[in-house]
Each structure stands twice: as C-alpha cells, then as structure tokens.
C-alpha cells in the first residue's frame, strides 16, 4: 500500500510541473506553480557516556561519568511543490527522504517560502522557509526486533535565492531541524522479558543546495 502510494505521489509530482506549463492559464496563471528541490547535509552531534577505564583504587569513590562526543553527518533530499500566493510568498507540500544512521525517514511537511530582501529586481534575494510535518517510516527497513516510528519534524531555514536568466534559480539554505523518532523493542517470550521505547530527538544543522523552477 505504502509503495503504491509513493509511486502515485511521484507520478503526481512529475505531472504537476507539466500541468503548470501547459495550462498556465486559470488557476496556475493566478498562482504560479513552484518546485524547489534540494539536496541537504544534516550536521549533528551525539554525546554519550562511555566506559570509564580510569583506575579508581580499591575504595569506592563518587562515580564521574565520562562523556564522548561524536559528530554525525546525514544526508537528506527534499522537494517542495507549491504555488506562489503572491510574488514574495509561496506555500506547498514538502516531501523528503532523510537518513539518520540506519533509519530512513520520509517526512511530509507543510511548507512556506517567503523572500525577505531583494535589492534590485531580478537580483539575488534572501529567502526564509519553514517546514512543519510528520515523518513516516515507509522507506525504512527494520533491524530485527525493533519497531521504528517516525515523528514530528520542524525545519526553519534561511538562505539565498540566486535567479538564473531562464527564470529558474539556485538555492542555498542553512537551517535547523528537529526530527523526532521512536524505536521500540519488545521481548516478552521469556522469563526476563524486556520492553523499551527510545525517543530520539535528532537535532541537526542543515545546509541545503538546490534549484527552483
């Protein structure tokens, strides 16, 4: 079911721009179609307690945890499809595919793009964006014994829109993303049964490059 949904969605997405071009009258004349497809890097860190190998002596002492920090880099692609409400503001739906370690999340968000500053007409402009939505795990493969659930995501960003001569534009955005996901594990068939639910809030600094047409 979910696979067919993805295929239909892709079909609609590839169809929409052509629809916009061919029938640039009526609705799409008033509210022009816009697509912004971006490739992104998600920079984050993990801080975790590691084993403390320091010799502590024979007598027990207060335990001081030792933390270790590791950088994490994840990949993301997303496509925003929407319409211009006015020359400065566009709204639409953002569909992305993000990887967080072994987890692949597919967030669906409501998105808004608004240009803030443009010095002269046809020049580059400062563009802000906000995507708020929910990530699904439709593309995820589970580690055995686990069940992954997606969650809320919010992604504000700010960047530059660099128009090209042909009407398209390059996009460079930097932003921030919070993505929630839950991982549950259940083993109830033996004596020492175990149940766990891990809530992960992935917090990432986002750099995105893309194109608008």
């Amino acid at each position: 079911m979910k696979k067919s949904f993805i295929i239909i969605l892709m079909g609609v997405m590839s169809f929409l721009p052509s629809l916009a071009q061919e029938e640039a009258k009526g609705f799409f004349k008033k509210y022009p179609f816009v697509n912004m497809t971006e490739f992104g890097l998600l920079f984050g860190r993990g801080k975790f307690e590691s084993y403390n190998y320091l010799y502590r002596g024979y007598y027990p002492q207060p335990y001081e945890p030792v933390y270790q920090v590791k950088n994490r880099l994840n990949l993301s692609i997303q496509t925003f499809n929407g319409i211009y409400l006015n020359p400065k503001t566009s709204v639409g739906i953002t569909v992305g595919v993000d990887s967080y370690g072994s987890t692949v999340l597919m967030p669906f968000s409501a998105g808004i793009r608004r240009s803030l500053v443009q010095k002269k007409h046809g020049g580059s402009m400062l563009l802000s964006s906000l995507d708020v939505g929910y990530a699904t795990t439709w593309l995820n493969e589970e580690n055995s014994g686990f069940q992954t659930k997606g969650g809320f995501s919010i992604n504000p960003a700010i960047g530059y829109k660099l128009p090209m001569r042909n009407g398209s534009a390059w996009l460079i955005n930097v932003g921030y993303r919070i993505q929630r996901a839950e991982y549950s594990q259940k083993r109830t068939d033996d004596f020492y049964w175990y149940e766990s639910n891990e809530v992960r809030n992935y917090k990432r600094f986002v750099v995105r490059f893309g194109i608008e047409f």
């Binding site: 801080k47 307690e49 700010i158 921030y176 991982y183 049964w193 766990s196 891990e198 809530v199 917090k203």
Partner: protein, 425 residues
C-alpha cells in the same frame, strides 16, 4: 529593518549551532531478579498461623482426606476444607518462609522452611502447631526458575526476588551499536525448573501429592529430592523425623514417584529407577535417558508415563513417552505421543490426564499403551498439575486457580468448582 536582518540571520545560525546534539531517552521495562538476604532466625521465627488469604502464586497441591493444601510459593500454605468439592472453603493460611513442598502423614504436615524440614500438628486445621524441626537439611532449592542457597558461615540465605523495573535512561542515540540497547541481566540464575510428577503414596494414612511434588511418603519414610540429592527421613514417630541417608543423584532432579517398592525419580536428562526394598537405603537399578527436558513421570501397571516439554530444563520435542518398566533394569520405550506443552500429569486408569499449560487440560483413554486416544480437551484454561483423587474426582491447578472436576464421564469432565487466583497486576 534591513540593517537588523543580517544580525537576525547571524543570531539564528548561532542558536542552531549551539544545540545540534541529539537528545535521546529510553524508557525501558524489564523483569529481573534482585538478591535478598534472609537470616536463619528470620526464617525460623517467620512461621505463624494466619487468617485465610487469597491465592496469588499457587505452587504445589496436596490432598489429604477432606483437606487440600495449596502452596503459596515461598510464602506459606493455604488450607482448604474440601468436604464439599462444589464449595471448597478457604479456612486458614499457614505462613512458612521458603516453603515449596509439603507432605502429610496422619496428622502431621511436613514442609520445608528453606533449609529446615518442619513438622506441624494439623489435627485441628484452625490451630496448627509447629511440633518438630530438622535443621539445615537442604542447602539450596529452586522454584519458578529462581534458586536460593544457604551460606552456613554467616547463617544466611540468599534468595532472589523477581522485580519489574521501569526506568528512564539517557542513551547514545545508537551511535555505537546497531542494537539500541543490548539486553543485560542483573543476575543470571540457574535456568532449570521444577514441575515434576508423582501421585503420591497409596497408603491410607498419607495424603496425595500433585505431580510437582518433591516430597513423598512411603511406609515410614519421607523422601525428599533436592536439585542433586535424595534425602531419606525416618518418620516412624511422626513429629520427630530423623535423617537416614543422603544419595547423590547428579544435577537436575525434579520429581519423585513411589511405585510398589520402587522409586521413580525424574531428572531433566532421564528417569532413574531405585529399588526401595530397604527404604533406608534405596539402590539405583537403572536409568532411562531422554532428551534434556522438563519431565514429570507417573507409573501405573508397569507402565511409566513421562511428559517432556521445552522449558527451563532444556529443549526437546513436546511429547508424552510411554515406557515399559516391567523389567526394571532395562526400561524400554513403547511409544511417543505428540503434545503441545505438557506439564503435570495424573492417571486414574484407564484415564490419563495431561496438563498442557496454556493449551488446557486433556483427558486421554490409556487402556492400550500403544494407542492412547484423546477423549476431551478443555481449552482456554491454564493447566499445570493434576491430582486424580478417589471417587472420580480430579484436582487441577493452573495459573488461574484450582479447579475441581467430576470425571465419572471421562469424555465430558464436569467442573465442580474453582478457587480463583487473585493476582496483583
């Protein structure tokens, strides 16, 4: 406005950079065992007669005349007046720390009190009195997969309590390992457990035990099996048991069943047959070996019925083995029957009753050992152990309570009554 914007952008970027650390928290719930130390004085002074209490975690059952004794694992013994099986009355509770097994001879109840064997006068079940005690005869014990052991040096017993722990911990967000949280055990107990079989001594003065019994009475002797040893007590004077001998049997002993002048002892690797002509010193005749499994055994007419099941004791096919023991020195397998998850069993020839744990209770026609046929299957109850009593009366205990059946028609058992288990959670 235009001047403020770059500052705003800078502030935004700075803010986002400052908190790009993942934040992960796991809520986990698990069952574990926590060690508890109990002193010998606490154990010995912990015995008292109490008002009737609800069944919470029933263990073995024992029937004597019109009374039923139901073990509340490691807590005590419920005493049930069963003169009317349709309306059993819970009349008293005898608190005994660490009690797992019991047996009754005349008016004397034998029970274990962790390390000690204690005798009680039960002539008036409403006022039970402790009459004797043999000290420090058991060194360790095991029930429900949890073992305890005695430390003679500091006179303490270490037992384990099962606890369900729910905790919240910060985790590493899966940075290091692919499994989010490997499963750790606080303690790894001995993983073998205890259902075992017997339907008890046939003499009129003693009662009848269930197939979980490790205590059995024969003639003037009380036999008890621990994990590794067979202990023989002389109970000619009911309230003054004296230890006669101790026979090492190896590890994994589960059950004792007296049949004629023989003792059938089930371990999780096989069935031992002991000659009991001299009750003070049973002699080993033979062993019938099988796959490693939990295996209660009962015997009737030179035919032994052994159930094997997967569990703490090992993994093996779930089955019922019928063994010819006419020649005691070389028992031979007659036939194996497929079962679901058999635990205790009992025979009221030609009817054989097998408890199938969560799959219910089965009634078989065992008139021909080579062709045992199913007569009835009572589903949707948890069946752990049965005792067939005289007068077509069957006692069955499971996780949900003690059931009594009228077995005059083995194809259609009639439920007489239930004493329900009241569980806390």
């Amino acid at each position: 406005m235009k001047k403020l914007l770059p500052i705003g952008v800078f502030a935004f970027v700075a803010l986002t950079l400052s908190s790009c650390t993942d934040d992960c928290e796991t809520t986990r719930t698990y069952r574990t065992t926590v060690p508890v130390t109990i002193s010998v004085e606490q154990i010995r002074s912990g015995i008292s007669a109490k008002t009737p209490q609800d069944l919470v975690n029933p263990g073995k059952i024992y029937a004597k005349d019109n009374y039923l004794f139901i073990n509340e694992v490691k807590k005590g013994i419920h005493i049930i007046d069963n003169s009317n099986p349709q309306q059993p009355k819970n009349i008293a509770f005898l608190q005994i720390p660490g009690v797992i097994d019991m047996a009754v001879k005349e008016n004397t109840l034998y029970a274990d009190n962790y390390i000690d064997l204690v005798t009680f006068d039960i002539s008036n079940p409403l006022a039970i009195k402790e009459t004797g005690r043999v000290k420090e005869v058991f060194q360790n014990g095991l029930v429900d997969g949890i073992s305890w052991y005695y430390n003679p040096q500091n006179q303490t017993i270490t037992d384990y309590e099962v606890k369900i722990i729910t905790e919240k911990i910060k985790t590493n967000c899966g940075i290091e390992n692919t499994t989010i949280n490997p499963i750790y055990y606080l303690q790894d107990g001995f993983k073998s457990s205890a259902p075992s079989a017997s339907s008890g001594g046939g003499t009129t003065t003693t009662g009848t035990g269930g197939s979980m019994a490790r205590f059995t009475l024969y003639d003037n002797y009380l036999y008890t099996v621990s994990q590794s040893d067979l202990l023989v007590f002389d109970v000619k004077t009911s309230n003054k048991p004296t230890q006669q001998s101790k026979i090492n049997l190896g590890w994994g002993i589960e059950t004792i069943f007296p049949y004629k002048d023989k003792l059938f002892i089930g371990s999780n690797t096989g069935m031992y047959i002991f000659d009991n002509k001299n009750p003070e010193k049973p002699e080993r005749l033979s062993i019938f070996q099988h796959a490693r499994a939990c295996d209660p055994v009962i015997v009737h007419n030179d035919i032994a019925y052994v159930t094997l099941r997967t569990g703490w004791c090992g993994t093996s096919p779930n089955q019922l083995d019928v063994v010819n023991v006419a020649n005691l020195t070389s028992p031979t397998l007659i036939k194996s029957y497929q079962m679901q998850h058999p635990a205790g069993l009992g025979i009221d020839f030609p009817n054989l009753f097998v408890c199938e744990s969560q799959y219910g209770l089965k009634s078989f026609d065992a008139s021909s050992a080579t062709n045992i046929t199913l007569q009835q299957h009572i589903e949707k109850i948890d069946a752990y152990d049965v005792i067939p009593l005289e007068g077509k009366h069957l006692l069955m205990v499971g996780k949900d309570g003690l059931y009594q059946y009228d077995t005059s028609n083995p194809k259609n058992l009639k439920q007489l009554s239930v004493i329900p288990v009241k569980r806390e959670n």
